[in-house]
């Protein structure tokens, strides 16, 4: 393999990338829209239920319950009309309200049943509605001096790092997905380039020069990995992804770029024309997207998701950017990713090499 020949082919390929309108458009859109979407998303998670309360004589109970719970904020209002107006206008971000009758304490003391109104807006989820109804009853019982039958709420056992007040926002959850999308775009770009070379048979023209098949394949690997890495790193920088664990992320992006390059070489080898390349690339991309989407949801990914080639990449980015993980924490994921990258690259090398040999 001759480095000079490889660099000449790389230069030619980069020139072709610059001349490709489709590639330029999706690159431009990615660079503008992905960071735009990222920065427009909320940076914090609102995990508090703000409830308006109208009551007389229940101050100690209401205050005690509100102070004892991180997820509840109580706003006192003068009457039901004021509460309804606050709910309708969105003032104070109230999601619901509790209206106790003025004679509640006196009636309860005589054992009389009174009516408590729970006001909810139409978008309140059913479980919140149920919980607020239960809360109204609980406040009433506490006001009568009836303690709860269990200290369930007072002493919950928190497992793992308690993230209350410091939850991972949707913006941060989206970060690996955006980085991944950029890499996937490059799969398609490289596949198109390879397919065009095969379709127009420029590869045979290249191979009658001193360039060998190894030079050709190495150049495709360098171009694919280089372009994918550069764009993904640029997007990561624009969305503030390198704030923590930058060296780990650079390694993950490089391995991810190698992975998509191998896939792009395979997809390009099968491509007879633009549409076939598009279809083949999307067919490959859909299963590879699953780990990135599963990262948006809480909990452990299913076992079959964990064996997908992109799982190691997504997991590394998630753990480093949201939990500040170090090298030892992500080593298994990086090793898995490295294994898949080598496999994909080898597959790309063999498949494209054979395709070129048959021309």
């Amino acid at each position: 393999m001759s480095p000079a020949v490889v660099s000449t082919i790389v230069g030619k390929d980069l020139k072709e990338f610059r001349a490709d309108r489709f590639f330029l458009l999706i690159t431009g859109l990615s660079v503008v829209f992905y960071p735009l979407i990222f920065w427009l998303l909320p940076a914090t998670v609102d995990e508090t239920l703000r409830v308006g309360v109208v009551q007389r004589g229940l101050d100690p109970v209401v205050t005690a319950v509100a102070e004892g719970s991180d997820g509840l904020a109580v706003v006192e209002l003068a009457d039901q009309t004021a509460l309804e107006q606050a709910l309708l206008s969105g003032e104070g971000d109230l999601v619901a309200g509790l209206v106790f009758p003025d004679d509640f304490v006196a009636a309860a003391a005589f054992g009389e049943k009174t009516q408590v109104t729970v006001l909810v807006t139409a978008d309140v989820p059913p479980e919140v509605e149920t919980a607020l109804s239960a809360l109204a009853g609980e406040l009433a019982l506490l006001a009568l001096g009836e303690p709860p039958p269990s200290d369930l709420l007072a002493e919950p056992v928190v497992l793992g790092n308690d993230l209350v007040g410091d939850q991972v926002s949707l913006r941060e959850q989206l970060r690996p997905l955006l980085a991944f999308f950029v890499l996937m775009t490059e799969t398609f770009a490289l596949a198109t380039l390879v397919a065009a070379e095969i379709q127009t048979r420029t590869v045979t023209a290249v191979l009658v020069t001193p360039a060998t098949r190894t030079d050709f394949l190495a150049a495709k690997g360098v171009v694919g990995t280089g372009v994918a890495f550069t764009e993904a790193a640029l997007i990561m920088a624009l969305i503030g992804g390198f704030a923590t664990g930058a060296p780990i992320l650079v390694v993950a992006l490089l391995l991810g770029a190698g992975l998509v390059t191998g896939i792009g070489m395979v997809a390009g080898s099968f491509g007879r024309d633009f549409m076939t390349v598009l279809f083949t690339s999307i067919l490959i991309m859909i299963p590879l997207m699953i780990p990135a989407f599963s990262a948006l949801f809480p909990g452990t990914a299913n076992a079959w998701v964990q064996v997908l080639p992109t799982y190691g990449f997504v997991q590394t980015v998630v753990e480093v950017t949201t939990a500040g993980a170090g090298w030892s924490d992500v080593a298994p994921d990086l090793l898995l990713l490295a294994g898949w990258t080598m496999a994909a690259f080898a597959a790309g090398w063999v498949v494209l090499g054979r395709r070129v040999a048959t021309l």
Binding site: G71, V118, P149, G160, M275, G299, T300
Partner: protein, 356 residues
């Protein structure tokens, strides 16, 4: 124009179409998107509270919690497995109910119960699970509160859940891919492979080619529109009216597809144009998804006039007579596009004649 010749072109495309990846795309992707959007994104925007319960004594509390709307209750056998799952945030919380819990509560004893919460669960979710569980404990203990709780909804009663607001996106995707992209890519493919030249040597005229390819787009757009509406259970009480709007949407998209397909010189240019112009087609969907945006802006986009009636009839229960203005607008847009299709067809014919 000879409709029989146009029918021959349509028959040829129907026969050869399934060999094209775009054809498979048209059939498969709307179904995949329906699954992704309804199953995945519905939960993403409105995640339920997830509670794991280890019940060592067939407690009534477990059965009662399983009936609560909005809380997903999973019964596990092993408390260690529950602890590990809660720590991994597979559940927001875990509740261990030892044998004899119901009896202890009923006898008025203060009962030691353990509520495990995941460090990653939201404070509001912890509160919801905790208070709801406490309410069920009170019920088993027989200490019902001295209040009658009445729930009243205030404000917009017509609020639509986010998974329903995604319906126009799914329908739009099905209609656009089939109606717009299929005829456009078919035109470009025929030019790239020079089969269009061969076709035009026969008695078939360009107008008949355009009608045949457009008809294929319309048929598949309506068919895939039906499939997506059926998969989403959205036909409601107005299936005929919805079909009419799907048909007009299919015609509108097919006309746009023929314009773009006649203009684009290769697949690359076509895809770039479709991607670049996607916002114009997709824009009305964004206004349904985010009802807080000024809704009049959506009416500036042609796709609004077939998507909005379908959405309204499926989700808010409007009837055909409520959408006569939209119908008129749809028809007007479809008619206005005919000269554009015709002009692009003539231009293409001239270009091909010049290159022969």
């Amino acid at each position: 124009m000879n409709l029989r010749q146009a029918g021959n072109v349509l028959a040829k495309d129907l026969r050869l179409g399934p060999r094209s990846p775009v054809f498979l795309w048209v059939l498969a992707l709307p179904i995949v998107f329906t699954f992704l959007i309804t199953a995945v994104f519905g939960d993403l925007f409105a995640p339920p509270a997830r509670l794991a319960v280890v019940d060592e004594g067939s407690s009534r509390i477990t059965a009662a919690l399983q009936q609560v709307d909005g809380i997903e209750v999973t019964v596990l056998d092993d408390s260690d497995a529950m602890t590990a799952a809660v720590e991994a945030h597979d559940y927001d919380a875990g509740l261990l109910l030892p044998a004899g819990t119901d009896e202890a509560l009923a006898s008025g004893q203060q009962t030691e119960l353990e509520l495990l919460v995941s460090g990653q669960s939201l404070a509001s979710t912890r509160l919801v699970i905790g208070v709801t569980t406490l309410d069920e404990l009170r019920a088993v203990a027989g200490s019902s509160p001295p209040v009658e709780v009445v729930v009243t909804t205030v404000g917009d009663q017509g609020w639509v859940p986010v998974e329903d607001r995604l319906l126009p996106f799914i329908v739009m995707y099905a209609v656009v891919i089939a109606g717009l992209f299929l005829p456009a890519s078919s035109m470009v493919e025929e030019r790239e492979r020079r089969t269009l030249d061969a076709l035009l040597i026969t008695p078939v005229r360009m107008s008949e080619v355009l009608v045949g390819k457009g008809a294929l787009g319309v048929i598949l757009a309506v068919m895939m529109g039906w499939v997506t509406l059926a998969l989403n259970g959205a036909f409601g009480s107005q299936p005929l009216a919805m079909t009419l709007f799907l048909l007009l949407g299919g015609v509108m998209m097919a006309e746009l597809g023929l314009v773009v397909g006649s203009w684009a010189k290769d697949s690359n240019t076509l895809f770039t144009t479709v991607k670049g112009g996607a916002l114009l087609v997709v824009a009305p969907v964004l206004f349904t998804l985010f009802p807080g945006l000024p809704q009049w802006i959506a009416q500036l986009f042609p796709t609004y006039y077939f998507l909005q009636p379908i959405y309204d009839m499926a989700v808010t229960g409007t009837t055909f007579s409520d959408h006569l203005v939209d119908l008129a607008a749809c028809v007007a847009i479809c008619l206005a596009l005919i000269p554009a299709v015709s002009a692009m067809g003539r231009r293409l014919e001239q270009q091909m004649a010049a290159t022969v």
